[in-house]
Symmetry: C2
Subunit: 440 residues, 2 copies
């Protein structure tokens, strides 16, 4: 095979990016969050970029995986998974700490907003950054966009949804970055936020992150949105904060205006119970976030829409396999998004363009991210992104911006490098503890 596709170098650049004071059921994120930028460089001199989580556990696995990829062609994507497993074992052998160093420990932890946390899922999240970088490098080498490498786009634009958050005006930490969005703590402020999103980006559907205030307040906010944007699709996502009883009550009260209710309760048991009585579809990016969770959840009809996330699922090609599974089992599909930059948004847009059964507008956290590592930020028009037809992902790395965000990571004393939302909350409320689930 053409050796110009062989990986000659892999660069890993951990960064810290600004994250605004958005509220969720576990409180607020820290003012900065870690991401990892993956860059593969081929012998042909082509560079491809990917992006994934940047917490220490992810870095601990990404480093040996980067080493082991040298000499492989960028086309070797089916082997990324076994290479990552081998890298994990190597890391364990060297006594590295953290989940990546756990080696054969496949223990899971149901906590956290990212759904189940396991060594296998962490591995897939790391792989996703490398797979996207390989696809980008391959596409650039061949002169083909990433969507073409995935079998070709079936749509020219991908629709996204406005992602509304309760929020503070500013982080309590004095040196945290500022923005001009102001506080959003009641229905009128949520409607104002939605209006600004609709005006600036053309979003036609709206998702409210809930689980922050008692359910009646959030029901009132959704009702206010329905009045302000009649007939437009609405969603509410309390991140599993509610009991079955509360979930059913909210479903009853908002069934006429919600296109789906997202993760009202935690775990397949509660979700199945809610689904049986809700009278509207339940979506998830917490109950089903890995392939091993699918079987039971689908058998019990616990979820009706899976919000895919190529970071969780191990890349764009695995996301397409998830789409095939959803298609086969009559389960809806859309896309989850949390704090990420333009590389990942490009990746999401490419894969979304190739999936026939994309049933809802995708989530996008992107408008909340004021910093980026690409030279030209993505621009939403009518709530949509046009699918890039340039080779690879169609984005260019902004090296000065990347260097500055990496410098921030280097200068951090360690508090921000590990995403610890409880720590962030304790700045505002000393003695804060992450609420138990169900919270209401």
């Amino acid at each position: 095979m053409d050796t110009s596709l062989t990986i000659a170098e892999v660069h890993l650049t951990p960064i810290l990016i600004a994250d605004p004071p958005l509220l969720n059921t576990q409180g607020v994120h820290q003012p900065y969050t870690p991401r990892l930028i993956v860059e593969v460089v081929t012998r042909g001199g082509v560079s491809g970029v990917g992006e994934t989580y940047g917490d220490g556990d992810y870095l601990a696995l990404a480093r040996p995986l980067a080493e082991s990829l040298i000499g492989h062609p960028v086309t070797d994507m089916n082997r990324l998974f076994s290479l990552a497993e081998a890298a994990e074992c190597a890391a364990a052998g060297e006594g590295l700490s953290g989940a990546a160093g756990g080696g054969i420990d496949e223990g899971t932890d149901a906590g956290g907003l990212r759904g189940v946390r396991s060594a296998a899922k962490l591995r897939l999240s790391v792989v996703s950054g490398f797979e996207v970088a390989c696809l980008d490098a391959l596409g650039k080498t061949l002169g083909l966009p990433v969507h073409t490498l995935l079998g070709g786009k079936v749509r020219d634009r991908v629709e996204y949804s406005a992602y509304l958050f309760y929020r503070w005006a500013a982080h309590p930490a004095p040196d945290a970055p500022k923005d001009d969005w102001g506080a959003a703590l009641d229905p009128p402020q949520i409607v104002a936020q939605a209006r600004r999103f609709a005006d600036a980006y053309g979003f036609r559907s709206f998702k409210l992150k809930g689980g922050v205030f008692p359910p009646d307040e959030e029901i009132a906010a959704v009702r206010a949105l329905a009045a302000a944007f009649p007939g437009q699709p609405l969603r509410l996502d309390p991140n599993g904060a509610w009991s079955v009883e509360t979930s059913l009550r909210v479903a009853r009260e908002l069934g006429d205006v919600l296109e789906y209710l997202e993760d009202p309760a935690s775990g397949a048991d509660r979700m199945a119970e809610v689904a049986a009585g809700a009278g509207l579809p339940l979506a998830t990016n917490m109950c089903v976030t890995t392939f091993p969770e699918i079987r039971e959840a689908f058998a019990r009809d616990a979820v009706q829409v899976v919000l895919s996330d190529h970071h969780y699922w191990g890349g764009l090609r695995n996301t397409r396999e998830l789409a095939a599974i959803c298609r086969t089992f009559g389960v809806g599909l859309s896309m989850h998004s949390n704090t990420h930059l333009g590389i990942s948004l490009a990746a999401m847009t490419h894969v979304a363009a190739t999936v026939p059964n994309l049933d809802y507008a995708c989530d996008s956290h992107y408008p909340w991210q004021t910093e980026d590592v690409i030279t030209r930020r993505h621009a939403f028009e009518d709530g949509c992104l046009t699918v890039p037809d340039a080779p690879g992902l169609g984005v260019e790395l902004d090296r000065p911006a990347l260097a500055a965000l990496h410098r921030r990571w280097l200068d951090d004393d360690g508090t921000m490098r590990e995403r610890d939302d409880a720590a962030a909350m304790r700045v505002a409320e000393p003695g804060w503890v992450t609420p138990a689930v169900p919270r209401w």
Copy 2:
């Protein structure tokens, strides 16, 4: 995008190929069977080949699909399915006969050795020939083997199984092609056939096509194989000819030597009942042959191994999606094969090389096919094919051979063009009717 990848021409060449007098529960095939060779030629002057069923229904859909593909890039593979649907509607509008002309008729017919027969499945079979041709052309243009276009091989050799058949020495028709295999109608003759396969090709596992003789005779044949090849994997496939009771009895009697029992009974109901009591895995290429059949069959645990066939499932990329589904649901995977030529065997080998969860040696009908349309026939070694690393499929069309087989198709008076196994049997036994199921 580079217009050299645009499809400039599509050539469809129906052919008739020799098929030996192998027996199955419905009798014997005709001495010749139709296949369709699909060739796409790009503006860049690169030609890619694919192969699929060649019966009239398939041709009736392939023709308008070929027309509609002109001007599309060979990379437009995700769109092949909707293009085929549109072609089917166009064909229906022009009043063409046959299933392809049925347009919106999605009625199904459970009969036949190919499992469920529906307009959707026929469409997928046609698409498979075009998809493989597009992959071949794309690979040749880019200098990449097809397995690389599918994410890269995870193994360098693909293992195949010997496909043993009860057979007559010759077809009853006087002008039918001859071979030197002789008759195989009892256990010693089956063992002799297996020995010849093992010696010539190195096959280490053996599948016997059953449903031909009363079950006790076939049990004796499998016992004879187990004695002749101790410890080597054996399979028996009566094509759904047995009742639940008979299936359970055979499973009991052969449970110690079969790695799986293939399609003992017909339909998900009977298969589920057999599976519950068989004590060994049930494989299928009849009960689950399309995506819509998966959900119920898996929920009822009716099958434990799916024998994929890229013709049935709509191509190599869909086969990978089927593999992902099997992986997710803990169902085994291997590969089905019936009368096909070297183009399809190359396609099978490429996709098999990329699937991590290929749990058993693949079936191969190929040694029974004495004719081919490629210049260099595939050579099994130790029962395996080495995965080709040449660009595309790694096969070259033998144009004189193709022309001769097409000439045979042109010269046929219509009897062979439509595969009609009952007609073939009536030559030997006037008054023969296809046996009702269950036969025993």
